[in-house]
Amino acid sequence: MLEFFATHFGWLTDVSLVTLQLASGIASAMFLFLVASGLSLIFGVSRIINFAHGSFYMFGAYFAHTWVQLLGGTPGEFWVMLILASLSVALLGGVLEVLFLRRIYHADPIFQLLLTFAFVLLLSDVAKILWGAEGKVVPRPEALAGSVSILGTPFPRYMLLVVAAGFLVGLALWVVFYRTRWGRLVRAARHSRDMLGALGTNVPRLFTQVFMLGSALAGLAGAMVAPIVTAAPGMDASIIIDAFVVVVIGGLGSFLGAALASLLVAVLKALGTVSFPAISMVLAYVVMAVVLIFRPWGLFGRREE
């Protein structure tokens, strides 16, 4: 017993290793938050569980690669690329919503799941056709190269940007949803799309806009993660599983839930990587199982009537 703890948790006495794992956990929480909040936003309004959301994240990374090549060293290309990659994914999401999803909002959820799963398979092949099977590198911007010291532990400067961006996007989302009329319309649509329509709002158009915003968030996450991990096949599957764990814990449809659960899952994963390298997600899955047993609608979600 003692030996087990010493093997798996002995590292917790190493302050610099703990700091590094915590910091990188917080940084990866930001990617997870961007993806999960988009997933959650789309579900909250349209009740569609979008498996293809991980594919949007992967496309964000590939678009980042393509835009960097196209921009070819223009000043501030990294920032322009982030915007263009997000917009490209928003457009991709918008096209899929208008052509396909819009037709099945009233269908059985199983058909919706099958359709978004079909998107996963299609988009994964399209990505291989367009960008090949090997990883595509996206360079880090010069200004964000190198590292800074946190409590004496060196930490990549780029990750600080990631953390800042996560906070900024979270704040921006709050402002949009609670301080603008568009946000009020979206919150109203979550309760009753029929009533909102009967008050004069073009609800199908609002759904498309929401889907595009959710897609853009996944695209932004993909574009920001690309300089760290390289854009490669398989990105879609790994992130969508983590994102679903996050929304199950946080509660589908809740932003605060997505934010806190992203932190929890990413930090647990970062700690799990050292304690149980072969099964790094095990702690997060245990939390998810406990939440599902005692609070199946999630920590911040609302119980379905």
């Binding site: 009329r181 009020r184 919150r187 109203a188 979550r190 909102l196 009967a198 008050l199 609800v203």
Partner: protein
């Protein structure tokens, strides 16, 4: 009097079962028409069909000079039809002010004074101190008034009111009646669905009685009330 709303031979279904079997009536500009009938007679479905929430299978709905049959609900609402559903459907996570704001539509350039929060609160004074409260925390009567207030924010020419007195305490019904009478004075045209005869009588100029999806009587309230046979046959339980 020019007809503002003309409903002709309206037929509607819920799934396989037919609810409306050729409903026809007209409402003149500035008139209040009550649609009376028992539960399940088709009052709600008639209103929903006009609003585009239950698309009619047959028949026509004309609003002013526009044929609105089968149009999507938001287009019908934008032509200035306000809808207050039977179950009110207040957005529970939005504040009272936010509930009003999502229904806001620019006024038509016809010189009438536009509805604003301020004007709405003058009419429904009890809502004013609740502007920042969440819709879900309001009582039934307050939610009913908010639902009417919200419909007014779209500056409607016609208001569809589905059983506003249902489930409310007599005192609340009395207050609401006075508020609706004041609305009527502004010249607003109202289609009211009701089971409460006393309430409908105070408000309406004409009544229609709907039985099993068909209009069985159209005329004055006085005649209906005076005619024991009519009342027995169509209204009393």
């Amino acid at each position: 009097m020019t007809d503002l709303l003309v409903v002709e031979g309206l037929e509607a279904f819920y799934g396989q079962s037919q609810v409306l079997f050729g409903v026809s009536f007209t409402i003149g500009k500035g008139e209040v028409l009550s649609l009376l009938g028992r539960n399940g007679a088709g009052k709600t479905t008639t209103l929903k069909s006009i609003m585009g929430l239950v698309p009619p299978r047959a028949g026509r709905v004309r609003f002013g000079s526009t044929d609105i049959t089968g149009r999507p609900a938001h287009r019908i609402a934008r032509l200035r039809i306000g809808y207050v559903p039977e179950d009110r459907v207040i957005f529970p996570d939005l504040t009272v002010w936010e509930n009003l704001d999502v229904a806001r539509r620019p006024p038509l350039p016809d010189g009438r004074e536009a509805w604003t929060e301020e004007r709405v609160f003058e009419l429904f004074a009890q809502l004013r101190p609740m502007a920042r409260r969440l819709g879900g925390t309001l009582s039934g009567g307050e939610q009913q008034m908010l639902a009417i207030a919200r419909a007014l924010m779209g500056n409607p020419d016609l208001l569809l009111l589905d059983e506003p007195s249902e489930g409310l305490a007599p005192l609340v019904v009395q207050t609401m009646l006075e508020q609706l009478l004041r609305l009527k004075e502004t010249g607003l045209t109202i289609l009211l669905s009701e089971q409460n005869l006393t309430f409908a009588r105070r408000l309406s100029d004409r009544v229609c009685v709907i039985v099993k999806g068909e209009i069985k009587y159209a005329g004055s309230m006085e005649e209906l009330v005076a005619n024991e046979t009519l009342r027995r046959a169509y209204l009393t339980v």
